[in-house]
Symmetry: C2
Subunit: 275 residues, 2 copies
């Protein structure tokens, strides 16, 4: 595996790689969910590039940018073992030169749910991914379903701005008790970790109740009862998969999306209802 | 010359064209200034593509989108005669599908001067050019110096978002009396047309006075005296060529930029001070 910290050597390596090129953007702290994306890229493409960049632009001023988990050596080893061809791990100044000022905004979709909780988050995500797509020029962009609204934002970015890269969404990887893998799970204390799987359980309950003919509101009430009392629920809703506007009846493709805090740690999860 | 109104046939044609590909984005109503851009592309590149799209997103609600001059047949003939390989002339729905919502914003630079007079103008310009660069994937983007701030905005777009396209700025073409060519000159009445060259004369006076050692403010006062009394001056300033922030002393690369209304018609001009 080649490792490049600057753009010029990354592009020099990319020129040698067979196409199609699959690309997995990450912020590091890699877990089995990331590795599932790498596996999908490996299976479908001739070459695989991974970026590792903790993107300051997608963190709010009160958020966890500083304490976000970082372990470059471990990440490097995992990616090399998985047969990744290129690891692009730029410094912040390589991505954002001193007088950088441009951003990409996907509009209303980026203001809902996660965008309401984190007002500049999706602008930061869309901007850095637009840059990485230009830097690495991959054929396929691999995204994890766990961050459902992010997949919608980036699918829209690619469609609205006519990027030629294709988006592939890969299903969430879970712990045996159902907790969706996330780098932020590392923040959880023992009791928080024990309570965290109830977010997934709540989503499953909500889907089952909707499919049994209950109204979205009734299903939501049943779901809330499944949540651990330790969870502070932020939202739990049925939304259109593309716009993330709320649905009152099930009309796929849709997501059931949830966010809750367990102590200081904010976790997301979702169910993807494709048909 | 091939003419494509949809993306798929445009891309099919582009695949057959030799590289490097030069690209000239236009809103039609082509004059000798546009044709100078085409000539530069023709001289420096193996193939030339031109887009013709009156972009609604870069017009404000009270602006001249509806009455902007349109003459597809004449434009078509001029471009064919100039040896253009591909004319891409999309309908609005091809560029902006019904639920389009994404925009690109270059930040502060886009809020000054023209951006102050036309608050969403540069957002519209940056967004449509980002789309066209993805659609046509040119090697070189040709821009006219006449719209100086637009060249700064698009140079910054390309740099900040790491587009691989190179930007070439081509000098302003003028009438014998100095008036910069512009599609909007067609709006001028006889007396307005007679007064319009004083904008260029004012810029020249301002530069001469600065070079003679006068302060920017003194030079500006001398320049204003050269302007026709028919002109309603909007701004006349010395600015940094990259940020468009005002300069108190000449520090190239810089622009002297001016905007004035002649009747209902708002005209721009500038001098580019490269060294």
């Amino acid at each position: 595996m080649n490792v490049a910290h600057e753009l010029a050597p990354a592009r020099a390596q990319l020129e040698k790689l067979a196409r199609p090129l699959g690309f997995v953007p990450t912020m590091g702290a890699l877990h089995a969910g990331h590795m599932r994306l790498v596996e999908a890229a490996r299976a479908q493409c001739k070459s695989v590039a991974v970026s590792l960049f903790v993107n300051p632009m997608q963190f709010g001023p009160q958020e966890d940018f500083e304490r976000y988990p970082r372990d470059f050596e471990a990440d490097n080893e995992k990616l090399a073992a998985a047969g990744v061809d290129l690891l692009f791990a730029p410094e912040t100044a390589t991505i954002y030169p001193p007088d950088f000022s441009t951003f990409v905004d996907v509009g209303k979709l980026g203001t809902r749910f996660e965008g309401a909780a984190r007002p500049t988050h999706f602008r930061g995500v869309a901007t850095v991914v637009a840059k990485l797509l230009h830097m690495l020029e991959p054929d396929v962009l691999y995204l994890g379903q766990k961050d459902a609204q992010q997949t919608a934002v980036l699918t829209r970015l690619v469609r609205d701005l006519n990027f030629t890269t294709r988006v592939e969404i890969v299903e969430t990887v879970r712990e045996p008790d159902g907790l969706a893998l996330s780098s932020r799970n590392a923040y959880l204390t023992g009791p928080e970790r024990a309570a965290a799987p109830t977010l997934y359980a709540a989503l499953q309950t909500m889907l089952k109740e909707i499919q049994a003919g209950k109204s979205v509101e009734e299903a939501r009430e049943a779901a809330v009862r499944v949540l651990s009392p330790q969870a502070r629920l932020e939202y739990l809703n049925l939304v259109d998969a593309s716009s993330f506007s709320r649905l009152q009846t099930l009309r796929p493709p849709a997501f059931l999306v949830g966010a809750a805090r367990f102590g200081r740690t904010r976790l997301l999860d979702n169910l993807w209802i494709r048909t």
